[in-house]
Amino acid sequence: MKYLAFAVLLLAPQAQGDVIAIKGGKFLTVANGDLEDAVILIQNGKISKIGKDVTIPAGAKVIELPKGSVVTPGFIDAHSYLASAFEVEESTESVTPDVKAIEAFSSDHPDVRAALSSGVTMVAIAPGSGNLVGGRMGVLRLNGRRYDQMIVKDAAATKLSFSNEALRSDREPTSRQGAMTLLRRLLKTKPIDGIVFLHAAAADDIQRAIEIATSFKLRAVLVHADGAGEAIDAIKAARLPVAFGPIFASDKREKLEAPGKLAKAGISIAFVSDAPATSESQLRLAAAIAMKHGLDRDTALRALTMAPAEMLGLSDRVGSLEAGKDADLVIYSGDPLSLTSDVETVIVEGRISFQKPKK
């Protein structure tokens, strides 16, 4: 019963400055460990205070969580085509640097609601890997509001592709040697500033991506990196973070063991869904499968929260439960990395965007 009351309260339009307090359960802050029986205060869409000895101000609306609940920062997907599949490749020519992928996003697509209800609060929409230079990636917050109010960054990074999907027989480049020559010529004349996402799956594609990243000093992130297991030392030397995935249940054991090896080598990894290839709700399954193959628990949790935030240059605003950060958080019925627990409530920008219907 208590829950029902609480839900009505929050949905009512909030006056600016109202304080909400969440008590009980366990907080996985990611930034500084787990907190038991502590309190989070939310004001103006931000986390104002979090800690054990936080006093709840009078007039604050208090939320008492049932026993066993766990609160985590909202999950972030650093590379996805959520609700924009098949629209993200301008295939007339291979180099389209100014195309913006988020313009292909349709906010009323049913997948958006499903993603939010599975605890994913922020998604980076990327151009396809069918172009050598795909264009600009954008970051959206799944707050259930209008499209323009969802945009966090409309040009967060540039997407390059080193896979043979970018090679076509009816336009330049038709081969990898043509692609590399064209790319070197491009980067010599027009260097790319800001973050660059390099799509590279096979081990030798990774090798080539690293060569371009180091010779042109790009602030690069490797995407997919299925064959990373074989190129660990090269990735470590170039100190590139890896946006790993998507992970399918039928993948080879070598690929499933790659996250564990990358983590042991001190390389920062994030899990990406490449939706709709795998759905946003399967990010947790990817983390669970990676843990089954040698990935430690903390890195797995970080790979769904802080690591993608850092890759998108948003680690100051999201990715952990810390005072001053945006109030994007998810309440689970149990340990989020154990697949038997489920999402109970999702709070985005201090407002409840999803509440699991009680039967």
Partner: protein, 410 residues
Amino acid sequence: MRLLVIACAVLAPILPAEKVSSPGPWTLDAALVIKAKRVITVSGADITDGIVLIVDGKIKAVGKDIAIPDGATIIEAAVVMPGLVNASSSYGLPNRANEEAREVTPDARAIDDCDGGSGEFKRAVQTGVTTAYVGPGDRNVIGGLGAAVKTAGGKLPSRIISSDVALKAAFGPSPSRGNYSPRSFAPTNFYARRPTTRMGVTWECRKAFIEAKKYRDDKEANDDGKEILLRVLDKKLVLRVSASRATDIEAVLKIVEEFGFDIMLEEADEAYRHIEALARRKIPVLYRASFQTRTIYSRDGSEERFTTFADLVKAGVKTALLPTGDAESEGLLATATFTVKYGAAPAEALRAITLTPAELLGIANRVGSIEAGKDADLVLLNGDPLHITTRVERVLVDGKVVFGKPLAEY
């Protein structure tokens, strides 16, 4: 019993030798000694009961009675010879290894298309090939630059011996095969590339070099491609041309006449028809035999003579042998064995798969023979390399055993 785990030490750092006398852990600086009943140096005479001393991946000394430092690991074999050199391979390359956007792509580098971890390298090592030239295919008139790489020992970038070894050009039917003349429709799709005849191919090649000359006079914008063509015109880079029929070889000789640059002939099935011209102009040949007795006339009408290699060598043409195919029975050793069967001298055939290709790739200072100072790339066999019944027991690259498989594991 579950599948016996095959302990094939393809990339094992060191495999304990059969008769290892000092079992000490083998560290990089300790010496490695190869003792063989017959040492085929290729650069000099064979040595019976010879010793090869290897330190830090280089051959320190080779001879009859070399002092063996203590703590050295000793490996014994019946025969040791230099690592084989495949002067024209497509290891790690996709089957369309050309940038087909344009007919002339001088600044394309095949090494960018090459997958260093590909199985083709691992197979080549097991047949004794330690160095290979990886170059563009023959779909473009001028395909681009090829590189000489080692076939084992770490990731591809660290295995490159020299990157811009030669500029590849292709005469004959392959650059024009599949192109459609734009007469019947506007050139909407890609395949309306210009050369649709052998004449067209020759013209494309001449046009490229003429435009390079014009570019030399007024260089407003930097053009990497034309810079490379200029290096060929100035004889600083060799042009490697693949041509098999007699008419194609003639077209190549005419181009050499006109521009006077250094060229090297590849494939050259009907080279026996122009032996005198090739000898006079000192044009080296990378000869690819096929030894098929069945059809005298091959599909494109060229006719093969099995004695071509022997005749070229007799006439003083510097000739290297290429493998006839990529099956296990078509490697360099099998090809050399058949070449001897059809008239070549054994020593010439062995040189044509080791030192000669190394010289033609311009890396003879590093590989190709067993001489002090060269890289320790060696092949250890259990008998005369020119016998089909002889097996490659071990292969060393830069002094490390990269392949070793005892008989019991086959």
